[in-house]
Symmetry: C2
Subunit: 275 residues, 2 copies
């Protein structure tokens, strides 16, 4: 498996790829868009995308990209997130004037960062990329919020470990592929649909699952760009699309939803999942 | 009205404050948190917060802050967003090497920005703040994505106007205050609730509105930080909380929702709203 991910070596996405398959070959790409393109063009067999963090919430850009591209979801991975304050060797806490990280990295350590006086927070595109920058530009008065592996990869020092505000910090990743065959036994299905206007439209949509005792693991709304204040709904349904009950629920929804698309059926992450 | 907003003069939040009340005194603050604090501590009578953009979606940080702070929502404003590529006088398009803006500003102009070759996108905390930086540091090879007013305020030039990807680009703002009296005739109520686990829990919650023909304008889920993969739901209900039908629906929801809080009843924005 060649798994494309967004970021630099040491990124949490790379760790998630290796958690799914310890023998995978992780392929770094600068943006989420580039990850989808790498898979579509065959530079990688799979792509891994963060979709939701327990603190920061959904990564909406990837919901949008799942729609734009035609790559089915074939697996999911949950990766624990442990952030560290990482510096060049010799930098002390009182020397730090700027902290670089991805906005989600900064947000997830907000309480800790508030205890630092007169320190500027600088959002960047990547946690591991922030560590790389400190190394390459030899920044003595700066720190990055990133993973332990990022410190290792770039030969930096962990000044303070476990600086995230909540211990239970996980990111859920989706794995996409050109080959729609799920990597495991599917028991979860991600769909995207629209509802017509008017009272009870979403209620009616959810009824197709509730009336069949099918659980919804997640429901997410996203604006439709050229229709102000109308929404697409993304739902994670706790069933395989090929189970008769789920297949009937989806057919029922298609009867009245103006649009409905299944993005993939795959195995919900368990600690012994992965290949 | 002294209305606190996040950003620099020329920010879209400032424009929204003046759209609501042309005679308001806008009070700039560096962060959303500082806006809430300014209102809580009486430095401003009101605070204005972006909550949703038609392209970028919800501004989740402000949903979280509405819960943390105890300031009721008393009004809403919809502000058209028109982005321009702004430079120092004399900079030509072929000179531009970096474009600065808020990540949402960059995302909303993605198609346009992709047409610029070899140009780096640099996310910042603020659209107008990016324009300010170009002025203050006299950056000749840089541009900002920001409003016309930001160009005016900082004496910069619009190199290319209307560079957003979609013409119908609006941001919806909420106005909070210590005084819970709504600024208008309330016909919309924002609530936040949790549901118990198990199939049909959200369906049951929505039934209290659907069975009474009350429309939901919006439903948004947010993770609960210390409970991985459990969610808070934010809903905009198209009714005044004091209408008997709506009051009964909320009492019905409170019967089985583990938690329910009303964040405010206020007047949905119409072009002749405002004070």
């Amino acid at each position: 498996m060649r798994i494309a991910y967004q970021g630099e070596p040491g990124a949490y996405s790379e760790a998630a790829a290796l958690r799914f398959n310890a023998n995978a070959d992780p392929v770094p790409r600068p943006s989420f868009d580039d990850v989808f393109r790498a898979v579509a063009q065959g530079e990688a067999t799979h792509g891994i995308l963060p979709i939701e963090n327990t603190i920061g919430g959904s990564i909406h850009r990837n919901y949008d990209l799942l729609l734009e591209h035609e790559l089915p979801i074939v697996a999911e991975v949950k990766q624990p997130i442990v952030h560290h304050l990482i510096v060049r060797e010799g930098t002390r806490l009182e020397d730090v004037r700027k902290v670089y990280s991805h906005p989600q990295g900064l947000a997830q350590c907000e309480r800790f960062l508030r205890t630092l006086d007169g320190v500027e927070m600088v959002p960047t595109y990547d946690t591991a990329g922030s560590a790389k920058m400190i190394k390459e530009q030899d920044l003595a008065a700066c720190a990055a919020i990133a993973s332990e592996r990022a410190a290792d990869v770039f030969g930096l020092t962990i000044l303070k470990s476990g600086v995230q505000d909540f211990a239970d910090n996980f990111t859920r990743f989706l794995i996409v592929s050109r080959d729609p065959a799920p990597l495991g036994t599917p028991d979860k299905t991600t769909i995207v649909f629209t509802v017509s206007n008017g009272p009870g439209a979403l209620f009616k949509a959810l009824s197709v699952f509730a009336l069949r005792d099918i659980d919804l693991a997640k429901l997410e709304s996203r604006p439709i760009p050229d229709k102000p204040f109308e929404y697409l709904f993304y739902a994670d349904v706790a069933a395989n699309r090929n189970d008769l009950r789920c297949a009937r629920a989806l057919m029922h929804l298609a009867e009245f939803a103006p649009s409905l698309r299944t993005l993939g059926s795959y195995q919900a992450w368990k600690e012994d999942s992965g290949v």
